[in-house]
Subunit: 304 residues, 2 copies
């Protein structure tokens, strides 16, 4: 299972009562954060999942509302006692930007590992997180992310027996990729059936609704997408500022055949997102408005 | 008159319900901010004094809880339409630290003027603000600040007449330093009596209660001082971390003969500062606990 929390729902600048857009994922106690604007650590503190177990922070881009909280959260992760490496993923320039911000957070008890994205798309695995990225269309270099939690096949007793895998390691091979027994190497595919459907969450802000997003978000259990402007009349503004309307996010959700859409990254001018809800809901019925610390637990489908 | 707002009262890290310690001053609509941690712009937004008229930001030191909100507030000041220069004052290294943070806020519509403090004490004037600084004792280089709003002498008709200052410029010279009339230069001291008592506010965090603070804060109408720890039993911890107890701040207030003390910069471990109020109040009766957005308007004393 995968826990998801939308830590904030604001865009552009932090405002009273609305933290900046960021998403936190948790699998087996290990956490992955996407974006970290000013105040993200405060809403995260309210959530109560702790800070020490953040293994990865992904950045969509380097506008301040998506990264200004980084030095503070690094210090807080350190204060929580982390000594294991922390992986940062983001557009190229990530190390340069981070080292600039770290002039006020120079001493940390854990090492930082940088992964700078240079390709237009690709996939990186960190622990159980399969992190896919796609270059999108904003004023500066920006990426959408998709998090897949893979699910292994079921134990296949016939396969295990026919391949003469010793019974002693059946259980171990259901958890690990490979194991040695009496001098011979065995791999998990020798005891498992076909990989089963996993869980996928996509996160997309800030961008225009480009076509490449459709296959990228395809079939996501949850699609978290920016809805910078509610009114369809603001399309020209959305085009100029490289953002999306509620209706454009909903159309992406429909075309990408996702299960559920959460709108977020509301402009400070959108004081009541519900006023514009129908602009998305009429296109994609399973739309929900994001709220600070809105949570969901996604499960693997019933075993088949 | 001088408006003062204590924007936040937290130390170390931002926590739910308590913004980081910062002070905002306003004279004739012109604002001066001291310290700017993560979230300062949000509590300032709640206050409602706007952002455009911030002329000066002073930094006590470069620990993240005192400066991490800088890139965000610079962008917000820019969004508010400021084009006039902004003066930043702080320990040496200020430009280097700020330029690091500005990797996420590179484009601003106003120039920044840096004043890096290298002396142990001194005074700088920016508009009506006479800003005094004193090097204090913290883990890193740190300064206390004192803001004086000077008050000119009263109009002295006898002096003006005897020095043959033309009546046409009497009014002007009561507001301006000097003016020319019919080819001759006149200065304000030709029409004004002795300078009258002004208004003074001192701001002191993070430091041990060093003796040099006593003359520095002398006679302040308001002394805003850190009270990192409430319990007197935490003295050893305060000494190690170079912070103050409530009782130490109160003793400074007493020795400095200030009018009023506001305690602030509470440790995240101090969830209810009022529990320890008596530790300060018993030493200095006019002690008040700081609260987020606590305000006061200080007036010049009645004319004499």
């Amino acid at each position: 299972m995968l826990d998801i929390c939308l830590l904030g729902t604001g865009g552009m600048m932090p405002v009273p009562g609305r933290y900046l857009t960021a998403m936190l994922a948790r699998v087996d106690g290990k956490m992955l954060l996407i974006d970290c604007g000013e105040g993200t650590q405060v809403t995260m503190k309210m959530l109560g999942w702790g800070f020490k177990a953040i293994d990865v922070i992904c950045f969509t881009h380097f506008h301040a509302d998506h990264i200004s909280g980084l030095p503070g959260i690094l210090l807080t992760i350190g204060n929580a006692g982390r000594t294991e490496p922390l992986t940062l993923i983001g557009p190229s320039g990530l190390a340069w930007v981070t080292e600039g911000l770290r002039r006020i957070a120079p001493e940390l008890p854990f090492p930082i590992k940088y992964i700078e994205l240079t390709e237009a798309k690709g996939t990186i695995s960190v622990g159980k997180y399969e992190i896919s990225f796609l270059s999108v269309e904003h004023i500066v270099k920006c990426y959408a992310y998709r998090i897949d939690i893979k699910r292994r096949g079921k134990f296949d007793i016939q396969k295990a027996t026919s391949l003469q895998v010793p019974k002693e390691i059946w259980s171990k091979l259901q958890k690990e990729e490979e194991t040695e027994f009496e001098g011979k190497l065995y791999t998990s595919d020798m005891v498992l059936g076909q990989e089963r459907k996993g869980i996928a969450v996509s996160y997309c802000t800030d961008t225009r609704p480009i076509d490449q997003l459709i296959p990228f978000i395809k079939g996501s259990d949850l699609f978290i997408c920016e809805g910078m402007y509610g009114e369809n009349e603001k399309k020209q503004k959305a085009i100029e500022n490289k953002h999306m309307l509620f209706s454009e996010a909903a159309r992406l959700a429909l075309q990408g055949k996702v299960e559920k859409l959460w709108l977020t990254h509301f402009s400070p001018s959108v004081s009541e997102p519900s006023e514009f809800f129908e602009n998305a809901h009429s296109i994609f019925p399973n739309t929900e408005l994001g709220e600070d610390r809105k949570k969901i637990t996604l499960f693997f489908p019933e075993s088949v």
